[in-house]
Amino acid sequence: MNLEKVVFGFFVLLAAALNFGFFIGDISDPALHNVYELFAALVVSLIATVLKFGDRTQLGAVHLATSLVADLQLLSAGFVWVYASQVAETGLTAQSTATIVSLSGGALLANLVSVVLLVTETVSFHRG
């Protein structure tokens, strides 16, 4: 068992899981989407990105690309949340919640691709 692979798989899966947890539920209902979960998803996604640094294989490059996409989406979601809850006069409306959740939905897609890559890599791994 390779500890590096365990850590790597853990973070990739955790990022996808947290992202999914935040995404699930009625898209425009703020009560169903916990902002702490978004924060956790963003942090874990950033860690997963750094873990993918410096891999020279083609698969590694695609891994890094998907993570960067997820980061970008989650950062945008976080930015929209900050804007909606603190800057905009109206506060967190159903419309802005929908924007945040759909952005995290995009990140979820990227994270799913990441997971698929991880699974593919594992399945195609032959010892010897």
Partner: protein
């Protein structure tokens, strides 16, 4: 290749996509991946500090949002993520705007105290790691290699790949730079490459610290570049030169290779690969000395022309034509030289220490013993000798040998070998009759071969013309161009280079002397010396004024830059050639020529 459209296209039209363009097929040695390996390593090493930083930040921000606080009115208040992130950002980076948006409670301050120490450690770790990596030798080398690779790949003019930038390289770098010949240099020592940067050439000469014997380094330095015009293997290591020659011959059979070696065995092995030009400085100096003994003026002319732009005229030695020579140091150089002197019919006495000669080598002409001992020197009988060679591989020994020999017989013709450049002033002060500096011999030879192929041909043909002829040519050159060597250049009498002379050349009585006049004042002759004319496979050395030129001739000339421009004007501008050749002033533009009704003398 992975593009499905491209694959589809190839499937359909695979047979027909051979382009008619004649693209030089050059084997690829390098790929960008190798150069960037270190960059990936650096990224991997930054993983731990970056993750630490992210975790510390996340933990601190999360803590701040969870700990209850109070607003200005004393009501319970919880920090949002944005406020917490903002606070942590300016606290962690030690900017410290204060407690925002409201004054903290004790519980919050407790947490913030903890996070301040945590984040400072995180930042210090991350920035420290980054700075260490930037200082890292491997990282810097990787960056230098990438920069070098990019520079070489961008070269769009023919360049010479110089493997080894020692004394020879330095001697060659300057004249090649003056000629506008681009160079790419590899040397094992970083100091030599630094010296290259300090040399302040006109052109930007890319230099790589690396093993020249390594084909990968040669590839990075442009061996597989389509514009690579030649490879010069000039390291002081024969093995390395051999590997450069081999790599060049196998990977780029089409480029010219010039290699230096002092060993005949290595030279043989070099000749096994393609057709490299092998320069053995010992051998070459022996040949030059023979030429000098037979024809001092030819020798003077040859060394002058080989020295490159701006070289002062060397003095003409008067070596003894017959008599006995004493030679100290019977190594590879001594053996070559002794053989050359004997070929000239001269008697040679060799002085060599016991341990170097061995029991078998005791010939009657050999004096065994240390030459620095007076008794040994006396046995060599210097007073009756005419020439003396100090040819050991130790400069101090050579200098003291010369001094001792001169004291015994001041009339001796002295040849000395200088091994280290730092000792040049000492040898200069001794006024040696013929200096042997291996680096200079190689540099002159390479310069003559590479700078202008016609000059090389000239030097090949020149000794056959005899001493008298050479003396006259030296007088002509010094008379017209001064005692410092002027530029040598080639002109071609073809339509693209000399459009204004085409009709004159076709007329069949194109005297060379007629065109060598100034376009400003045709009574003044250009101060240039034609050295060589090439017509097909025939060569004519120093054509005189009555030489009849023909279309297609190539000519090698020596002269000042101003006269070169003047000749160029005559060759290109119709009105200038009319004046120079026929003393007629015609307007330079076609319209004025029509209006003035003055057609060209030989209208075409």
């Amino acid at each position: 290749m992975s593009n499905p459209l491209l694959i589809f296209w190839r499937q359909l039209f695979g047979r027909d996509d051979q382009t008619p363009l004649d693209i030089k097929r050059v084997p690829r040695i390098t790929s960008g991946a190798q150069a960037s390996a270190t960059i990936f390593l650096i990224m991997r090493r930054m993983r731990a500090p970056l993750i630490t930083l992210i975790v510390i930040f996340a933990l601190s921000v999360l803590g701040l949002t969870l700990i209850p606080g109070q607003d200005a009115a004393g009501q319970p208040y919880r920090m949002g993520f944005f406020d917490a992130f903002y606070f942590m950002s300016f606290t962690a980076t030690t900017i410290g705007f204060g407690e925002l948006p409201f004054a903290f409670t004790t519980a919050q301050r407790l947490w913030v105290t903890f996070t301040i120490y945590l984040t400072v450690i995180g930042w210090a770790y991350a920035i420290g790691s980054l700075l260490t990596l930037l200082q890292d030798r491997a990282f810097r080398e990787a960056l230098a290699l990438q920069r070098f690779t990019r520079k070489v790949a961008r070269l769009r003019e023919p360049f010479l790949l110089m493997a080894g930038f020692g004394r020879t390289g330095e001697l060659l770098g300057r004249p090649f730079d003056e000629l506008g010949q681009q160079l790419v240099v590899i040397d094992e020592s970083a100091e030599r490459i630094d010296a290259l940067d300090l040399a302040s050439y006109h052109a930007d000469v890319p230099g790589l610290v690396g093993d020249a014997g390594n084909p990968y380094h040669l590839g990075v330095a442009g061996l597989d570049h389509p514009d690579c015009a030649g490879v010069l293997a000039l390291t002081d290591d024969d093995e390395a030169n051999l590997s450069v020659t081999m790599a060049a011959a196998l990977l780029r059979p089409d480029v010219q290779v010039i290699a230096r070696t002092v060993s005949p065995a290595i030279a043989d092995r070099m000749h096994a690969f393609g057709t490299p030009t092998v320069i053995n400085p010992f051998d070459r100096f022996g040949d030059l000395l023979r030429l000098g003994l037979r024809a001092p003026a030819s020798f003077q002319l040859m060394t002058w022309l080989e020295s490159g732009l701006g070289a002062a005229l060397p003095s003409r030695g008067r070596p003894p034509r017959d008599g006995r020579w004493v030679l100290c140091g019977y190594g590879r150089f001594g053996q070559h030289l002794a053989a050359d002197l004997r070929t000239e019919g001269l008697e040679v006495t060799v002085v060599e220490p016991e341990d170097a000669v061995g029991a078998a080598g005791k010939e009657p002409w050999m004096v065994v013993g240390d030459a620095s001992e007076p008794g040994v020197m006396a046995r060599a009988d210097l007073p009756s000798a005419v020439g003396f060679v100090a040819g050991t591989s130790n400069d101090t020994t050579n200098l003291s040998l010369v001094a001792a020999a001169r004291r015994t017989n001041p009339e001796l013709f002295v040849v000395a070998r200088q091994n280290r450049q730092a000792n040049a002033p000492l040898f200069g002060a001794m006024h040696i009759d013929a200096m042997f500096v291996p680096a200079e011999v190689v540099a002159h030879e390479v310069y003559a071969q590479v700078s202008t192929p016609m000059l090389w041909r000239f030097l090949q043909e020149m000794p056959a013309k005899g001493d008298e002829w050479a003396a006259q040519l030296v007088d002509r050159l010094t008379g017209r161009c001064g005692r410092h060597l002027q530029a040598m250049w080639k002109v071609r009498f073809i339509r693209s280079d000399a459009p204004a002379l085409m009709a004159w050349l076709a007329a069949g009585d194109a005297r060379l002397g007629d065109v060598m006049r100034s376009p400003e004042d045709r009574d003044r002759y250009l101060r240039v010396v034609p050295l060589l004319v090439r017509r097909g496979e025939d060569y004519v050395l120093t054509p005189d004024d009555d030489f009849i030129l023909a279309e297609g001739d190539e000519m090698l000339l020596a002269g000042r830059p101003a006269d070169r421009r003047a000749l160029d004007t005559t060759m290109i501008v119709d009105s200038a050639s009319e004046y120079v050749l026929f003393d007629r002033n015609v307007p330079s533009s076609w319209i004025w020529r029509r209006l003035a009704r003055k057609p060209l003398t030989l209208s075409r």
